[in-house]
């Protein structure tokens, strides 16, 4: 059999004819030039939502968790749903910055800064819920192993305590990773900005970075080690989040599929969130040459893969519930698909399993508007996933006499909507004051950065694409 082979070269990561100076200017000018008016409008709206959050938290502290819709069988409501949802969103940032780094995926450099910022702010939003749901927020420090007047310690055998350690470690490590990446770029802004205050501020945070290759040498090592640490960390964090459910004996929660299923779902929703944010920002800030359609397509493939994994998990859960022969397990999965919360289950199923399947089509993967719509749908679906898991299992538990229907109150909604205020307040500050693309890393993946792409006279020669010969012997075998 004869085959014709076609060699498809890797497309250039940065489109257009940009040199290093252009890249620096494109990204850091956003920080240096005066604030655009539209930014103030967006910031104002975000601030109002933030006030809503602070107001709802204030009222919660004053009045107690009774203002939420929690009732007797359903003791976990929107607080844990929102917590898991926001933490999950955060995971895409670490996946892009750490796992894709270890896999040497050069395209991550266009979006990693951005996604890491999203991670940090999403984890901040997530962290609020466990902190405020404790009721007596003034003794929230009991969650940490600190000496107290009761001479008691937290229980290290409890998944809820594992969560405290996992999320706080995750936040700290993400912040450190982000900051390490930022240092060279802050130095770039420091060297370009004219205002005295700006020079001072960026100068302090740039720590006196001067691009020394003796420094880069340790820096790259540090970056690689951090990526190596963040990779198992991100997997462990959502695993431990799933343990909050899986280690209990509630039907529908007590399953071993939870850790991988939660991690896949987290990556799924996080990539969708990165896409939503990226599609808006690349347009507004004119970064289409850096965050290209190729990037969007690659991310859509991740969305497709993880979405399908999530779909597999939904079906496998149903199968195992039947196969296990456990009465309660079988019943709860029946109730999910056909019980009082069937509407939520099918919203979840449609958004998470069916909607990403459109991305099998290359044309749709490369369609900006379509991708944006799907990315929003996916995040709605992932919110419903957590809703279904949390609420269905609790509302119809072992004893029919204690069953009850759960609905949120206005304060549940206000707190959730308010977290968007927190998220976007920080995100807008980030867009305004910090380089939103990793300038140094992006330059590093351009062909001009490779010393081999220069001829004897030191002139840049674009790398030639070598088309390998078709493997001739194969036809004979």
């Amino acid at each position: 059999m004869s085959k014709t082979y076609e060699y498809v070269p890797e497309p250039a990561l940065v489109k257009g004819n940009h040199d290093f100076k252009d890249i620096t200017a494109m990204i850091t000018d956003i920080n240096i030039r005066p604030t655009p008016k539209g930014w103030y409008v967006a910031f104002g709206i975000a601030n109002m939502l933030l006030l809503l959050l602070l107001g709802s938290i204030g009222y919660l502290v004053w009045e107690g968790t009774g203002i939420w819709g929690l009732n007797s069988p359903v003791g976990w409501g929107w607080a844990i749903i929102n917590f898991v949802w926001w933490v999950g969103i955060g995971h895409a940032g670490t996946l892009i910055s750490a796992i894709l780094f270890l896999f040497r995926q050069g395209w991550r450099t266009a979006i990693n800064r951005f996604a890491e910022a999203m991670t940090i702010f999403a984890v901040m939003c997530a962290g609020i819920f466990p902190a405020i749901h404790v009721g007596r927020i003034w003794v929230v420090y009991w969650m940490f192993p600190l000496p107290n007047q009761m001479l008691m310690w937290p229980n290290f055998n409890s998944p809820l305590l594992w969560d405290v350690f996992a999320v706080s470690t995750y936040f700290t490590v993400s912040l450190l990773f982000w900051y390490v990446g930022l240092v060279p770029d802050l130095a770039t802004v420091r060297d370009r900005i004219k205002s005295k205050i700006g020079k001072m501020a960026y100068g302090v945070f740039a720590l006196g970075w001067r691009g020394s290759n003796r420094h880069w040498w340790n820096y790259e090592k540090s970056y690689m080690i951090l990526a190596g640490l963040a990779t198992p960390l991100v997997l462990s964090v959502h695993t431990i989040v799933s343990f909050d459910f899986a280690v209990s004996i509630i039907p529908g929660w007590h399953t071993t599929i939870f850790p991988p299923y939660f991690v896949a779902g987290a990556v799924f929703s996080g990539f969708a969130m990165v896409l939503s944010l990226m599609i808006i920002c690349r347009k507004i800030y004119g970064l289409e040459d850096i965050m290209t359609i190729d990037h969007m397509e690659k991310m859509n493939i991740v969305v497709l893969v993880t979405g399908t994994m999530v779909g597999f998990a939904y079906i496998m859960e149903q199968f195992i519930a039947w196969y296990s022969g456990v009465e309660y397990e079988k019943f709860i999965f029946m109730m999910r698909a056909a019980g009082p919360y069937a509407w939520a289950y099918w919203i979840m199923f449609a958004c998470n399993v069916f909607s990403p399947q459109f991305f099998w089509s290359k044309k749709l993967r490369r369609n900006v508007t379509f991708t944006f719509i799907i990315s929003i749908i996916v995040n709605i679906g992932m919110w419903f996933e957590r809703f279904v898991i949390t609420v269905t299992s609790l509302s119809t538990d072992f004893l029919p006499s204690s069953w009850g229907y759960y609905s949120p109150t206005i304060w549940d909604v206000a707190t959730y909507v308010g977290t968007f205020g927190l998220f976007f307040t920080f995100f807008l500050l980030f867009l305004r004051f910090l380089p939103m693309v990793a300038v140094a890393e992006l330059k590093g993946v351009m062909p001009q950065a490779d010393p081999h792409n220069y001829d004897e006279d030191g002139e840049f020669v674009p790398p030639k694409v070598e088309v390998p010969e078709p493997y001739k012997n194969q036809t004979n075998q």
């Binding site: 310690w153 290290f156 594992w162 090592k221 080690i225 960390l233 140094a440």
Partner: protein, 183 residues
């Protein structure tokens, strides 16, 4: 210019190169000519320049390993003290030393401390933060974080002689050669 600086000591000679390749080649030449106290500067890490500059392996891995071990052992000590020694809880006669349940927290603490080691260890090895540096006096050096590639041969080098080094760098193809003074 020289008069202004006549009473100051020289920090080194700074020279600019055109691109990553010239910088790598220059590093090789500098090492071959026997200079030891020099550094190169670029807006991004250059592939292969570590070999050209003859850099030793980074010691950072050891720092991280030490911190990771500290996190792990510290975690064991914390959990053992709180769960076994100070406040033992007898739950249906189960063993107090419940290692599987300790793994998540021990893992997180190991990662946390390792990350501290990786970040602060890196800044420590690089001697940062250092807000002022003789090189920051050079206006041209601002390009080092944008699109400039620089070499600086420091006066601490035993072979250092101002004229000789300037000529040497010029022969290596450098432009914008300037003398940097200590402040």
């Amino acid at each position: 210019m020289d008069k202004k600086h006549s009473d100051k000591t020289i920090y080194g000679i700074l020279a600019e190169f055109k691109n990553p390749r010239e910088l790598t080649d220059a590093s090789k030449t500098i090492v071959e000519s026997g200079y030891r106290n020099f550094d190169t500067f670029s807006p991004f890490p250059i592939h292969g320049i570590d070999k050209a500059m003859n850099l030793n392996k980074s010691k950072l891995g050891w720092i991280v390993a030490g911190h990771g071990l500290l996190g792990l052992l510290g975690g064991v000590a914390l959990i053992y003290f709180t769960m076994v020694v100070d406040y033992p809880m007898n739950i249906s006669g189960k063993s107090l030393i419940n290692v599987p349940a300790w793994i998540p927290v021990l893992f997180e603490l190991t990662v946390l401390l390792s990350a501290f080691g990786a970040v602060f260890g890196m800044f420590f090895l690089n001697g940062l933060p250092k807000f002022n540096h003789p090189l920051f006096d050079s206006e041209n050096f601002k390009k080092a974080t944008d699109d400039g590639f620089f070499v600086c041969i420091e006066s601490e080098d035993p072979q250092f002689e101002e004229e000789k080094v300037s000529k040497f760098l010029k022969d290596a193809g450098a432009t914008n050669i300037e003398t940097i003074y200590e402040e």
